[in-house]
């Protein structure tokens, strides 16, 4: 409760720092903010070319669009979590020299990655419309559910980010462990393939245990397949988001007082 009140009080701070992060990222580059749009666009183009002309895939059609609708939420998750491991230690000055609410730092990281994620969405929509005009796919109203998925996923990511941000101050190894886990996680999440087509039972069980699975599958459901997310997936997402936020607040609350001296 205390944590949530602090967050509300610092909403302006989080907003300002997020804007600062985004501005600082592109300051000095000629295309500036356009890179946020260009990066996913280029990625989508590469996927389309590769999987249409060089390695035609028969998983689903059109495969680039399927890949893209899973890869975007995954990138949001992995980039935000990995970057949050250094969010506190790279701002040591703030924690040690200013009365600064440390919880704002991982949340700023999450928020700025959320902005990148949100900016990539229009590219995905335009691509979907393009493929629909071409007759490869039909547009569906389920796309309107994307914001709700984003809210749930943001809560989930924020909880994890707060946990790893505070824990990695005391356990520096966490960052390296997570970097490797994320690379593994990419393949243990049904992004490149459909979970139903996985033959191995133990591997499918492993996929089910991955908390990112219901999120990625749900994005694919509403964006690509044009149907509502499954009930089981929805419940899992709610549960993961709740557990993650609770864990983030608890762990951060425990470690907060030691941060200033442990950095």
């Amino acid at each position: 409760m205390e944590s949530l009140r602090t967050l509300y009080r610092y909403r302006q701070l989080i907003a300002a720092l997020t804007a600062r992060d985004l501005k600082a990222r592109y300051r000095g580059s000629i295309l500036g903010f356009f890179w946020s749009l260009a990066n996913p666009l280029l990625l989508l183009t590469v996927y389309t070319v590769v999987f249409t002309f060089f390695f035609p895939s028969n998983v689903v059609h059109p495969y680039p669009l399927f890949l893209f609708s899973g890869i975007l939420p995954w990138t949001f998750f992995s980039a935000a979590v990995l970057e949050s491991t250094t969010s506190i230690s790279s701002n040591a000055g703030l924690i040690k020299k200013v009365m600064f609410p440390a919880e704002a730092l991982p949340l700023v990281t999450v928020a700025s990655h959320l902005v990148h994620f949100a900016l990539a969405m229009p590219i995905l929509l335009i691509a979907t419309v393009g493929f629909a005009l071409h007759g490869d796919i039909t547009l569906s109203a389920t796309m309107l559910l994307v914001p709700f998925l984003m809210i749930l996923q943001t809560l989930f990511v924020a909880g994890i980010a707060m946990t790893v941000a505070s824990a990695s101050v005391l356990f520096r190894d966490l960052r390296d462990i997570l970097t490797n886990l994320m690379q593994l996680g990419f393949f243990v999440t049904p992004i490149l393939y459909l979970i139903d087509r996985v033959a191995s039972r133990p591997f499918r069980a492993l996929l089910r245990l991955n908390p990112m699975t219901p999120f990625v599958v749900s994005y694919q459901d509403v964006l690509f397949f044009g149907h509502l997310p499954g009930i089981a997936d929805t419940l899992l997402m709610l549960a993961y988001a709740f557990v993650s936020v609770a864990m983030g607040i608890t762990v951060f609350g425990r470690l907060r007082d030691t941060l200033a001296e442990a950095i």
């Binding site: 300002a16 501005k23 040591a92 703030l94 007082d257 001296e261 442990a262 950095i263």
Partner: protein, 458 residues
């Protein structure tokens, strides 16, 4: 609302030593005060059992050697660190100047950084809008405000940082060794700003090695030694005790002097009693306010020539000595202070007893109670004998003017202004009565005399 701004009760802070290889910047202090190789404990106490309260509007200085826990104490007050035991209570908005511009991002402009920094210090966007021009004006770098701060010189960086921090309008301002930043001009501006904040009732806590600032700006001071409070009280006395200690670790003082120190160092709280301290190699055996015939005065009228007389008893001859005097109003305001060093009177030799006279042709003080401090000390400020409130006297005046200083003056009126001078003795008499009495007497011719105060009647 409680009347204290800051209250610390039995505050201790230990830093835990984490496993091998963990880097710990704040251990600086801990490492300096203990030989870690000899004490394999897993925690180091940086601050031990500190209790004090700072009143609203008070300026409080914290001094001590490197690693004595000063900065840790400031961080505890600011809330950056949490005490291991004890409690820290602070009333009102706190701003901490621990590192200026700590939150600046190099890639974005000064303007944007002002906003971010202001929000970090607890202002809203609107409040910053309202203060923006003042902040830029104070920083003195308006031409660079739309440049990324990575292009700033380090001086510009701290200017901007200080400008933002002091415009937060805090109730409590914590300052860690930052008043020495920037060039002379800016440092003076900072001190002036701090003084202004003090007059506005902002509670100030300083950590500094610049003992002059403690003496000049603070109402009280704390000397922290190895994390423990050594002395707390009058800043001049605390600074002096500290200087004594610092110099005594460097040179062994004469034995007689040490005994004298013990005897002299008895702080008293009664403001009417004299406080006296010093190492005692030379003492002020008598301090008196005398008139031009050499008679001691306890009351003083305007226009009287006076002198402060100090009889010097030399126990150990000295080569480095400064005589100083200070005149204070009873409320603590310094009316005037000077010493022989400031006025370019270089000490050569103090061989044997003597007398020093500080002669004033007139000491025109506004009516009130005053005290005089007299001291003999070394040129770096270590006292041989410091007598705070050595003399107390009352200044009388027929005119109930206000302030601390009465310049020589006269009123002159030209044109169609009618003014009559009345007898000030009759001031409290109803005006008609006074008029009647005046009519009865021969009307005075209106002439102007130096130092005589002529008043207008409505």
């Amino acid at each position: 609302m409680p009347d204290y701004a800051i209250a610390l009760t039995n505050v201790s802070k230990s830093y835990r030593l984490w496993g091998r290889g963990s880097q710990f910047a704040t251990l600086k202090s801990a490492l300096l005060k203990r030989d870690l190789a000899l004490t394999p404990e897993t925690s180091v106490e940086a601050v031990r059992d500190v209790s004090f309260a700072v009143d609203r509007g008070e300026a409080f200085g914290i001094i001590g050697r490197n690693g004595s826990g000063k900065s840790t104490l400031l961080k505890l007050i600011s809330g950056i660190l949490k005490p291991t035991t004890g409690s820290v209570r602070v009333n009102g908005r706190v701003a901490a100047l621990i590192e200026l511009g700590a939150g600046f991002h190099p890639e974005i402009t000064g303007r944007e950084n002002i906003y971010i920094n202001g929000i970090m210090l607890g202002l809203s966007r609107k409040e910053i809008d309202a203060r923006f021009d003042q902040i830029v004006a104070f920083s003195g770098i308006p031409d660079f405000i739309d440049q990324p701060v990575k292009t700033y010189s380090s001086g510009m960086y701290v200017r901007l940082g200080f400008a933002v921090a002091v415009h937060v309008d805090p109730d409590v301002l914590l300052i860690d060794e930052v008043l020495s930043v920037g060039d002379e001009e800016f440092a003076a501006k900072c001190v002036a700003k701090i003084q202004e904040m003090k007059y506005r009732g902002v509670t100030l806590v300083f950590v500094t090695h610049q003992l002059d600032q403690v003496r000049n700006l603070c109402d009280r001071a704390l000397w922290l030694d190895h994390g423990e409070p050594e002395t707390i009280g009058d800043p001049v006395r605390v600074v002096d005790a500290y200087l004594q200690a610092v110099s005594s670790t460097q040179t062994v003082p004469p034995r007689a002097a040490t005994d004298e120190t013990k005897k002299l160092e008895t702080p008293r709280d009664d403001p009417n009693e004299e406080e006296r301290w010093g190492s005692g190699e030379v003492v002020l055996s008598r301090v008196a306010l005398v008139d031009n015939r050499g008679d001691e005065l306890v009351a003083l009228g305007p226009g009287t020539p006076v002198a402060i007389e100090m009889d010097i008893t030399v126990r150990v001859p000295q080569d480095d000595f400064v005589f100083g005097i200070g005149i204070y109003h009873a409320d603590g305001t310094c009316v005037y202070g000077t010493n022989t060093d400031l006025e370019g009177l270089m000490p050569e030799r103090l061989e044997s007893n003597g007398r020093v006279r500080f002669i004033m042709p007139a000491l025109d003080l506004v009516a009130g109670t005053y005290r005089i401090d007299a001291a003999i000390h070394t040129r770096n400020g270590r006292a041989f004998d410091y007598r705070r409130g050595a003399i107390r006297f009352v200044a009388g005046s027929r005119v109930h003017d206000i302030g601390v200083y009465r310049p020589k003056h006269q009123w002159k009126f030209e044109g169609g202004i009618a003014i009559k001078e009345i007898d000030l003795e009759q001031r409290n008499v109803p005006i008609e009565v006074a008029e009647a009495m005046r009519e009865a007497r021969k009307p005075k011719t209106f002439n102007h005399r130096d130092t005589e105060n002529t008043e207008k009647s409505q």
